[in-house]
Subunit: 550 residues, 2 copies
């Protein structure tokens, strides 16, 4: 058995059953081995960023890793941004990067480069170049074990061509499943005491945003008055009618500061202590208010839900009824289309058990509010800030969950990084509705230009932030990639297109032509953000209003 | 003066006058500084691979570096493949990568990653994170000096946001121009002696493929009978009527071995000793035949043209008339379109002083023959094997040479890595004619699957190598990106479209619908390659025929 076949069988035995590929010559033996392993599905991408983003989206929904197949250092480079998003989201991926034969490396041929140095950026915990066909099976097991946890990560296995084609490969049995432990009793007791002292908030992230963790946290909140936050960009968050409503930390540091201002205790549950996304001159990066103590209930390598259950028990909240989100939908929007109306239409029409992928940046500010009481759904967000995640993530999510509708809301700027994902949706006939907000602008950068104190910007600067001259036509792009698409500039047309897309199988793209609503002015942004944050206590809302008054 | 302004002025003072950008928040002060420096042109790309590929194409034609502006580690990752091509082509680029403020790094925010480790892959000679606003001007000078030579390279300057926005910036004067030296007398004499002993070939690369080097090499060839080869994938090669015709080393190692078989001396002139592109089981990677001595006349850090002039003088060939390519064009092709007919049409219609960018992989095999006697032109090829170079390269070449027509021939698979380049062509109204060969296949991989001994491949394997289900529509993609486009499936339509495109200003895309001609069979490829190699001695042609006989 050659190395490629041994690797393929080892992957499948461990439950790695999908491989997102963009192969080249050095990966041909792996490709040839696909037909010998019926458990392995191979999904071709036209660009490596699609393959890696799909592996990310798949694992977020499947709860187990997929493999990638990338072509040397350059293929890894092309896939790096979405592997970064996976790394930040602690998402397991078995990242397989083909390399030249070990005997070829010293000739420094055209495609030769130092793969390991690139891989360390996204795989600090596991980068290994397999050194022999005999060792490849065990290398694969070690990569799978590293990828799966604790916590999940991107494990990069570099596969030289001659290790792949060599004979003497040995499939190896799967590694043991990871077994995360809950918080220890002392930590639970200390945190229970902090919560009892009042003015406490739980910041939920990672695994804590799934149903089990959410329900335990909501019982604690109902019993103690503790506030519930979700991290700003969750890997995967379950929400909607019948689940606890949890307020996300805002992207804008100014607003996050207001959200957090009143708390004396911040309890981290598989979440990172909140920091601003970027640094701004003269402003602190650490968002924890002065005088607030930060406690860690569960680190990412622990069992977040079990830790929350232990905490609920310690607080006597096991039997408390949690406050759950009531079912409610916004009305059907009417008139000229705007970004908030798109969000409203999604809330109005969201089907049961959907997967919502949000990479809509400024255009999706109202999405949270508008879908809060919609039927229960999973929300996937941009964990690492590297735009170009949404469309590939939709590919992976749809392959992980073929029976669930996937709705991806993407900004125009973001969509153009990995637009090639549409072709894979068409080829695999995936149930994805891609909604592109075309406002012809890197809208968030118009905000950021002022926020970093760089002024209004002259015409050359402004030209780096807009997407005009020509304006992109996403419907044409989608059709060129084999995906049915329409453009909508009224709410009526948009709703009709969304109903059609959700009723038909296969991928659809709706290009929402919307005005650039932010216009570069912070004073316009904050009130809008304010409305987007659900269930703020009146005092907090009042504080925000004072803060943003002109 | 803040750091960004000092950096901008330092760049412009050193003649870096174009910046290919895809900025984010951490680069906003650099963006804001653009309007203060009228000498700096900023060209926005929708994807970093376009920005870096454009910087590569620009420098190949302008003979000096452009700057890039990339957003943190993820932006660098997206730009890595085309920086790799630049590195392999020894092309100067001042690669500016924004980073978080130095005070923000320790908070490990969403976009935080280790940028330097990624940068080392493409900038082994110069990676520096600027540590202070006061030092930024000198850091920029050092980066420019490193980029410009000797030889050219990708110099990566990492620019933390607070270094950019901080006050106390000092523009610095330009570094001295590089002054490469010719080969020393002893080397020249030794090589002259080797050439006199007969059965010698010169392998020209890098700077040796410009007019001065080519003419000196052709005088040597005419005087001594030495054969002239060009490296397989030249950075930039001047060719056409009135220049010496130089035979390129073939991509297929089998064929390159035949090309080189009869030589006892191989003289490298700014070229690397030839090795196979990939390794193949049981085949040597080193293409130099046994018993052939390899001599280096000029390394990449030397003056190749001056070295060739010295060698010509040593051989008494200063006054020898070089053999020059006669003006001749293929006839206008007729009938159903095929890839060779596209090449024929390009040869038939190629305008004076064109820049030809070849990333057509298998479809362009006949391009060399068909354009050999066309009007003088520059040829740019895929130096590092990382596909996705051609369309971005065309952006940069057209900006470097606004008065010259740019014709980019691109395979369908390759085009999809950086299709976003079309938008930049439209926005800048560049005189680019992009010809996409749509054969609905990663055609070269069908060949490679068999060459690496992985067999014919089953249906799953084959599905990783074809681009069907759906077939891409590049004309629609181009229109969605704002570029005029047509599809052609006859030679007549193609010629008409090409004439139209060349007669109008601004970008045009012609989608050539061609059959997948290689069909996965080596026996079909080699005869085709054979025809593609010009002016082989009859004995060599005979040897190839024997080698590829069934």
């Amino acid at each position: 058995m050659n190395g490629a076949h041994a690797l393929m069988q080892t992957l499948a035995d461990a439950g790695v059953e999908v491989c997102f590929t963009n192969p080249g010559t050095s990966e041909m033996h792996f490709v040839a081995a696909l037909d010998a392993e019926p458990r392995m599905r191979a999904v071709l991408a036209l660009f490596e960023g699609v393959a890696t983003g799909a592996a990310d989206g798949y694992a977020r929904m499947a709860g187990k890793p997929a493999a990638t197949l990338l072509h040397l250092g350059c293929g890894l480079g092309n896939g790096l941004a979405n592997l970064h998003n996976a790394r930040k989201g602690k998402v397991p991926i078995v990242n397989i990067v083909g390399d030249h034969a070990t005997t070829h490396t010293r000739y420094d041929a055209q495609l030769q480069s130092d793969i390991e140095t690139v891989a360390r950026n996204v795989s600090p915990g596991f980068v290994r170049t397999s050194q022999s066909t005999a060792a490849l099976g065990q290398d694969a097991v070690d990569a799978i074990a590293a990828a799966r946890g604790l916590p999940g990560q991107v494990a990069t296995l570099i596969l030289p061509a001659d290790v792949s084609w060599g004979e003497g490969g040995q499939p190896c049995p799967p590694p043991p499943a990871p077994a995360p432990q809950p918080a220890d009793d002392a930590s639970v007791q200390a945190i229970a005491q902090a919560i009892r002292s009042g003015e406490a908030a739980l910041l939920l992230g990672g695994q804590a945003l799934r149903e089990g963790g959410l329900m335990a946290a909501a019982r604690i909140a109902a019993h103690t008055g503790a506030h519930l936050f979700a991290e700003c960009f969750p890997t995967r968050m379950q929400r909607g009618a019948g689940l606890p409503a949890v307020e996300r930390i805002a992207y804008l540091a100014e607003l996050a500061g207001v959200q957090l201002a009143r708390f004396k205790h911040l309890i981290l549950v598989d979440a990172k202590s909140p920091v601003s996304f970027f640094a701004y001159p003269g402003k602190p990066s650490d968002l924890v208010p002065e005088g607030c103590s930060v406690h860690t209930l569960a680190a990412p390598d622990q069992d977040a839900a079990a830790s929350l259950e232990k905490l609920a028990a310690a607080l006597g909240a096991q039997a408390t009824a949690p406050r759950l989100q009531a079912a409610q939908r916004p009305e059907r929007p009417r008139g000229p289309l705007t970004a908030p109306k798109v969000c409203k239409a999604v809330g109005h029409l969201l089907p049961e058990n959907a997967i919502v992928i949000d990479e809509s940046i400024t255009s999706g500010l109202m999405l949270g509010v508008m879908t809060q009481g919609a039927p229960r759904h999973d929300l996937i967000t941009l964990t690492g800030g590297a735009i170009g995640q949404g469309l590939p993530g939709a590919v992976g999510a749809a392959i992980a969950c073929p029976d669930r509708p996937v709705i991806a809301l993407i900004g125009d700027g973001s969509a153009m990084y990995t637009i090639q994902a549409l072709w894979s949706m068409a080829r695999e006939n995936l149930n994805v509705t891609a909604i592109i907000f075309n406002n012809a602008s890197y809208s968030v950068l118009n905000v950021e230009l002022e926020r970093v104190g760089a002024g209004e910007g002259g015409p050359k600067a402004r030209a780096q932030l807009d997407l005009q001259g020509p304006v992109l036509n996403f419907a044409q792009l989608a059709q060129g990639l084999g995906v049915h698409a329409v453009r909508a500039s009224t709410a009526e047309d948009f709703c009709q297109a969304l109903e059609y897309a959700l009723a038909q199988s296969g991928p659809h793209l709706i290009e929402a032509l919307v005005p650039e609503s932010l216009g570069g002015a912070k004073r316009k942004v904050l009130p809008w953000m304010l409305r987007a944050i659900p269930s703020l206590p009146p005092a907090v809302a009042q504080a925000i209003r004072r803060k943003i008054a002109p």
